[in-house]
């Protein structure tokens, strides 16, 4: 993956943060440079004006007293009206929104002040610094929300991680560095998670071992009655908290699966019968519970769920199993796992790879969809032929022009879809909406449902007028709906709409990636003429539709 360019704008010396961000070995790689510190509003204008050097990412990290003059007066002891504070925040938010047009992603850490400024009873009262800071941060968040490419991050976790060295008094006086190094390092982790989330590349499947990972004890040996889960037992409570967190992840669209060397019947019985079990069978997208190699099971289940290995996280209490999966499947994220179960919930909390820029309806229904998919597969095995099965499914496709409400999901699809994807072009939500706004372009979304359930928005197609041709910029379909005739339906829509717009042909330039072979196969099997160099052309009749 190529390095992303990041400009860091601040009123204080922020070279350490830029350095940590540049040197961090995790994906995505970032080349960060700190703009000269000082007057932030002037710097924002300078960076925005520097055409040709637009950053992919901007981090704008300020101290509240440096950019909100009313707050500076307030902490100097001057009485300041709430309206004056919020008015200053509104002005600053406007400057940020203007600036944010020039970067694909702008990250803004919320404001903090050292405890000496905000603590005590007075600080929390109306007119106190802590109270003012809360209101200012709320106002800033609300105002910045209007632009999806701007993300406000909460720095309280960074300061907590840095402990008593969160605020660096000495470094401030000597070098205008307000925060300790640990705070900067933690900030890097959240900023990277935000970059991944904004590009729609967050992980979406969490596979876990069962014994001593989801609960304490060996279910096959001891029976579900003896498991440590809940009860008046610190270990049991910790496992229950693990399960609570898993349900929370599932509600955010992360699929939860079990991969365990175990007796499947015993595990299923535990899920069904243990009175304190929170993670019941319907919350689990799939499982491979047998005595086979775990890496094989991880690959097999991931494939069955139509998910790429680079979207998978595998958690196991056994270092040997972790090593096996890590070595065999390098794309799978296998975090180190503590040996003490009391630390398991915190270890789960520490995983930032599930952060998402937005929560869509499709995310919420993902586990349910996986269950419906199992039912479809069962029917498929029973059906006489593939065609009969397709007929039985009764697939419905609803095509609509892309609008703002669907933009988060559309951007997610654009960035995650690999197989049925013509160009694997990756854009942020803001970039996609900007692209689609041109009158020469059309961007269509496709919702799909069948008799087993709703797949949600799972297709996207965009084309651009070039002379008398409509050139496909994007044609992609989530693998969850692949092979059900949906891609043909999408293509028919594209051809019809291109014809309506006056085009005489639709041209698709296939750009090969590591995984988009299915798209090439689809184009080859279509009615398009194939130039042999990856260009496919559909002739459009004036009245009679595609030929």
């Amino acid at each position: 993956m190529t390095k992303r360019h990041c400009t860091v704008v601040s009123d204080f010396t922020i070279g350490a943060f830029a350095g940590y961000l540049s040197n961090d070995a995790g994906e995505p790689k970032v080349e960060a440079s700190a703009a000269a510190y000082g007057d932030v509003r002037a710097t924002l204008l300078d960076v925005a004006r520097a055409r040709g050097a637009r950053p992919d990412i901007a981090v704008v990290w300020t101290r509240p007293e440096a950019v909100i003059s009313a707050y500076a007066r307030l902490i100097s002891g001057e009485p300041v009206a709430r309206e004056a504070l919020l008015g200053d925040v509104a002005d600053y938010a406007d400057a940020l929104l203007q600036f944010a047009q020039h970067a694909a992603l702008t990250v803004v850490p919320a404001w903090v002040s050292p405890p000496a400024v905000t603590r005590g009873m007075y600080g929390g009262r109306a007119g106190g610094a802590a109270d003012a800071l809360r209101e200012m941060n709320m106002e800033l968040s609300v105002r910045l929300r209007e632009r999806p490419s701007v993300v406000v991050l909460d720095p309280s976790g960074w300061l907590l991680a840095a402990g008593r060295r969160a605020f660096a008094t000495k470094a401030w006086y000597l070098g205008k560095i307000p925060f300790g190094d640990e705070a900067f390092k933690e900030a890097v982790r959240d900023v990277k998670a935000a970059i991944i989330a904004a590009s729609g590349r967050s992980r979406k499947l969490l596979l876990l071992d069962a014994d001593d990972t989801l609960w304490g004890g060996l279910v096959g040996e001891e029976g579900w009655q003896q498991l440590r889960l809940g009860g008046h037992d610190p270990i049991g409570e910790a496992y229950l908290d693990v399960q609570r967190r898993l349900l929370n992840l599932a509600a955010r669209g992360i699929l939860i699966g079990i991969v365990s060397r175990n007796d499947e019947t015993a595990v299923m019985e535990a899920l069904a019968k243990h009175p304190e079990m929170l993670l019941r069978r319907d919350a689990i997208a799939g499982w491979r519970i047998n005595w086979s190699d775990k890496a094989k099971n991880v690959a097999d289940l991931t494939s069955a769920l139509n998910i790429g290995l680079d979207a998978v996280v595998f958690v196991d209490n056994s270092p040997a199993e972790r090593d096996r999966v890590r070595t065999a499947l390098p794309d799978v994220l296998v975090p180190e796992w503590p040996s003490d179960p009391l630390e398991f919930p915190a270890a789960l909390d520490d995983l930032r790879c599930f952060d998402a820029a937005a929560l869509t309806e499709e995310d919420r229904g993902r586990t349910q969809h996986a269950g419906a998919e199992r039912q479809r597969d069962e029917r498929r095995l029973m059906a006489i032929s593939y065609e009969d099965w397709l007929r039985e499914l009764a697939v419905r496709i609803d095509a609509r022009p892309l609008d703002a409400a669907d933009a988060p999901r559309a951007a997610q699809l654009l960035n995650k879809t690999n197989q049925m994807n013509l160009t694997t072009r990756r854009l942020t939500e803001a970039q996609l909406m900007e692209w689609a706004a041109s009158p020469r372009r059309q961007c269509w979304t496709f919702r799909v449902s069948d008799r087993f359930g709703d797949y949600g928005l799972c297709g996207l197609a965009g084309f651009e007028a070039e002379g008398d041709s409509a050139v496909l910029a994007d044609f992609l379909l989530s693998c969850r709906a692949l092979g059900r005739g949906v891609e043909q339906g999408m293509l028919e829509t594209v051809l019809r709409e291109a014809q309506r717009s006056g085009a005489r042909r639709v041209v698709a330039h296939y750009r090969q990636s590591a995984r988009n072979g299915p798209c090439l196969e689809f184009l080859r099997s279509s009615s398009a003429s194939n130039s042999g160099d990856g260009t496919f052309s559909f002739k459009l009749a004036r009245r009679n539709g595609p030929r």
């Binding site: 040197n23 470094a171 000597l174 390092k185």
Partner: protein, 95 residues
């Protein structure tokens, strides 16, 4: 002696995490910290001093390096890891 050197070498690692390739200190006692021969600029040197103070404090050798009269003097105790280790050890036994 070893724990002081260890703390200072840990500070070198700390500060290198912030620095671009080519401007990092070599984690040995010969590493030059200030003067024309050093790879550190003024901010890098300040960050090293702060990291060294933290590491030394954690190791039980609290010192105030930034309070030295001219910390960036290439003939002073902050010339190299070796001279700094000697200074800290002497300060530790001073009554």
């Amino acid at each position: 002696m070893n724990s002081v050197v260890d703390a200072l070498l840990a500070a070198v690692v700390d500060v290198n995490e912030q620095l671009p390739e080519g401007r990092r200190l070599v984690a040995t006692t010969d590493a030059i910290l200030c003067g024309d021969d050093s790879v550190l600029d003024s901010l890098g040197f300040l960050n090293f001093m702060l990291a060294a103070e933290r590491r030394l404090e954690d190791a039980g050798f609290p010192v105030n390096l930034t309070a030295l009269p001219n910390p960036g003097d290439p003939s002073g105790p902050l010339r190299s890891i070796a001279t700094l280790a000697q200074y800290v050890n002497e300060a530790a036994v001073r009554p």
